[in-house]
């Protein structure tokens, strides 16, 4: 489905060979880090993680369209690939999975990535508010900052998502709703989750253009996201993108997919591996060779090692932060509790 008017300008420019190679390097880095994070959980380095195996194209491709000088991104708990693509400090990102601090330890204001969100659909309305703020701030059309908000097919069932779509459309807010339809919401398949089977189809009811795309084709994802950004940036209002992909692994490191789908179903549902697909394409088009792929993998491994060392080196946050960070202006009662806590727990 494609109800988005064709954009003029940069959005239509084809990706250069250097950009295509960069996309591949990003996808390898994300794939490798994702697999490593699962291993870290098994080794007891982190208590939990939400894998994204198979969603690399959707995440890298969409994150690649973000202009971190003016746009802002609202992730869920599964957007490691987006964060990596945007250049977020990955040790600070992973800190949330290490249980150091809810939301992660990166600076969301500087990195343009809102704190990691554990409530399904929790930040979709925030994206609309932020985007409307761009309109209110009076940037010229064509220069608006755009909010990019992520959610899943499961999250699309939340009332907040419907309110967000309606608000955004009514206010013509520059926001891109990026749905990763990975086929599952924990154990519930899309057909038992989304009436009609398509989130993109709903956009029409809100008078909003939508694209349903192959979320496993990184180039298609970049192009679609760029078009959506151009539309929103120009002051034409929101766009919904539904990237069709597949969650190849478990929902989280504590999930057992064997209870709700068979290995055969997994194989049939997953289709071709997005990373392998892209690699074949780059080879066929003569854009990259085996040496390049080997180099990209080596870089990913080196990076993973740095991140792992960083995470292992992370100490627990000092307990006083528990009290210090509740308010900008603390209260006497809270200060009293902090004092008692120090006396009884730190014996000072």
């Amino acid at each position: 489905m494609d109800t988005l008017p064709v954009a003029a300008g940069d959005a239509a420019d084809p990706l250069t060979p250097a950009q295509l190679r960069e996309l591949y390097s990003l996808m390898v880095a994300v794939r490798h880090l994702d697999a490593s994070a699962i291993a870290w959980q098994r080794q007891g380095i982190i208590p939990g993680y939400a894998p994204e195996l198979g969603q690399e194209a959707a995440q890298v491709g969409s994150g690649y369209a973000v202009d971190t000088t003016r746009d802002f991104v609202f992730p869920t708990y599964r957007e490691m690939g987006v964060a990596r693509t945007m250049g977020v400090d990955m040790v600070a990102y992973m800190a949330t999975h290490k249980a150091s601090w809810h939301g992660g330890l990166y600076d969301p204001v500087k990195s343009r990535l809102a704190p990691i969100q554990a409530v399904v659909a929790g930040s979709v309305l925030h994206a609309v508010g932020w985007a409307h703020g761009q309109t209110l701030a009076g940037a010229a059309d064509g220069k608006l900052g755009v909010a990019l908000t992520y959610f899943g097919d499961g999250a699309s069932s939340q009332g907040d998502v419907h309110e967000a779509l309606n608000f955004a459309a009514v206010m013509k807010a520059p926001v891109v709703f990026f749905v990763q339809n990975n086929g599952w919401a924990i154990s519930v398949p899309t057909e038992r989750q989304v009436a009609g089977g398509s989130v993109a189809a709903r956009a029409a009811g809100y008078g909003m253009p939508a694209l349903q795309i192959d979320g496993d084709d990184v180039v298609a994802v970049v192009e679609a996201t760029r078009r959506a950004f151009a539309h929103a940036r120009a002051g034409n209002g929101p766009v919904l993108i539904e990237a069709m992909t597949y969650r190849r692994g478990p929902h989280s490191t504590s999930d057992d997919p064997g209870r709700y789908r068979s290995l055969d179903e997994e194989r049939d549902g997953a289709g071709a591996d997005p990373l392998e697909r892209f690699r074949q394409r780059l080879l066929a088009e003569g854009i990259a060779d085996e040496a390049f792929f080997a180099e990209a993998l080596a870089a990913a491994k080196a990076e993973e090692e740095l991140i792992r060392t960083g995470i292992q080196g992370l100490d627990s946050r000092p307990g006083t932060e528990m009290f210090d960070l509740v308010f900008q202006e603390t209260t006497p009662v809270l200060q009293g509790q902090a004092t008692n806590w120090r006396e009884e727990s730190e014996h000072v």
Binding site: H102, G319, V326, W341
Partner: protein, 347 residues
């Protein structure tokens, strides 16, 4: 996992009805029996059908009772609770689940404005026999919103009843009892205790003949009463053992019902010990500890030797796993609380 049958004193008087099981198994069995006994009972929520719930509390129930009676819903808590209200209006007995405590918040509108008021609004013609199961409290190093203590919030709402079991035996009986009531009950399951095993006597809730709606003395003591519920009961029993080594004889009262609170049982216990400490995981301010302290003050003012103490979580968002042990009342902090009431001197 097979349940081993134990020989207990009950065997002298009749058939053995005591089985060792985990709280997860006890809850599962209770739900199974409720479905079998009440054709109007329905279980639904996110992932509780085929998967059997992320904590496996509804494991196997869909296979046994069918997809009409045990089903997965879309991912929408407001939808789950709002639909429960409508089903209750149609004469059903919904037993919905919200997956984790923090995800009850998106349903608060339906719980507070609708479920809790429909009986009142309809002048008693539309009862709301709904048992909302909420895996509750922290202690499992879970991500944000996967460990919260909402009891004060629910207890504050007119029209809701709130209960929390502390062990498998209580879980089995309290859930069976709650699920047959004509009013909405919020059933707060201490998720850190799900895999803890204990003896469950399926024949009788309370061999001592106590009421299923009351508080329960879990350990007798003379010097002071620790009042707790849910996961904190086990910790208080541990503290009582440690205190006994110092010659302090602690009584542990499991409140069980957080609304209505058994004020009579509080008075009986504290009139005996003359001192009390309330322990809860939830933040201090406007927490249930304040309510309990007031009920004790009212029932025991003339005999109290010290003001009622509270040992609680802090007025901070429930922290990430690394700071969880700093937040949840630990043994030391409870012992400090005990010390404060024991050493209290009148000004």
């Amino acid at each position: 996992m097979s349940n081993s049958m134990l020989t207990t004193e009950a065997a002298v008087n009749g058939p053995v009805t005591t089985t060792v099981m985990s709280m997860q198994q006890a809850l599962n069995r209770a739900l199974d029996e409720v479905l079998a006994e009440n054709p109007k009972a329905l279980i639904f929520g996110e992932d509780c059908g085929r998967l059997g719930g992320v904590f496996r509390i509804t494991d196997g129930l869909q296979a046994k009772h069918g997809e009409q009676r045990v089903f997965d819903t879309p991912l929408a808590e407001s939808g789950i609770l709002g639909m429960s209200v409508g089903l209750a209006m149609a004469g059903f007995h919904p037993i919905p689940e919200v997956q984790f405590d923090g995800f009850a918040y998106p349903a608060i509108n339906q719980i507070v404005c609708q479920m809790a008021r429909m009986n009142y609004r309809s002048r008693g013609t539309m009862p709301m026999p709904i048992t909302l199961r909420v895996p509750s409290f922290g202690g499992i190093r879970a991500p944000e919103h996967h460990g919260e203590s909402l009891e004060a919030l629910f207890a504050h709402v007119p029209g809701l009843k709130v209960v929390s079991p502390s062990n498998p035996h209580e879980a089995y009986h309290l859930l069976k009892y709650a699920a047959t009531r004509p009013d909405p009950v919020i059933f707060m399951e201490p998720k850190s205790r799900y895999w803890q095993k204990g003896e469950v006597d399926t024949a009788s809730h309370d061999p001592a003949g106590g009421s299923p709606t009351g508080a329960k003395v879990m350990r007798e003591g003379r010097h002071l009463t620790l009042v707790a519920w849910g996961a904190m009961v086990a910790r208080c029993l541990q503290v009582a053992e440690l205190a006994a080594e110092d010659g302090i004889d602690v009584e542990v009262l499991d409140l069980r019902w957080l609304k209505p609170i058994d004020a009579a049982a509080l008075a009986v216990s504290v009139r005996k010990t003359r001192r009390a400490v309330v322990v809860h995981e939830a933040p201090l301010t406007s927490g249930l500890g304040a309510e309990v302290a007031q009920l004790i003050t009212q029932g025991c003012f003339d005999t109290l030797k010290a003001p009622v103490e509270r040992v609680t979580g802090f007025d901070v968002p429930y922290p990430s796993g690394d700071l969880e042990d700093e937040y949840i009342p630990n043994i030391d902090r409870i012992l400090f609380g005990i010390q404060r009431v024991l050493e209290y001197k009148r000004g």
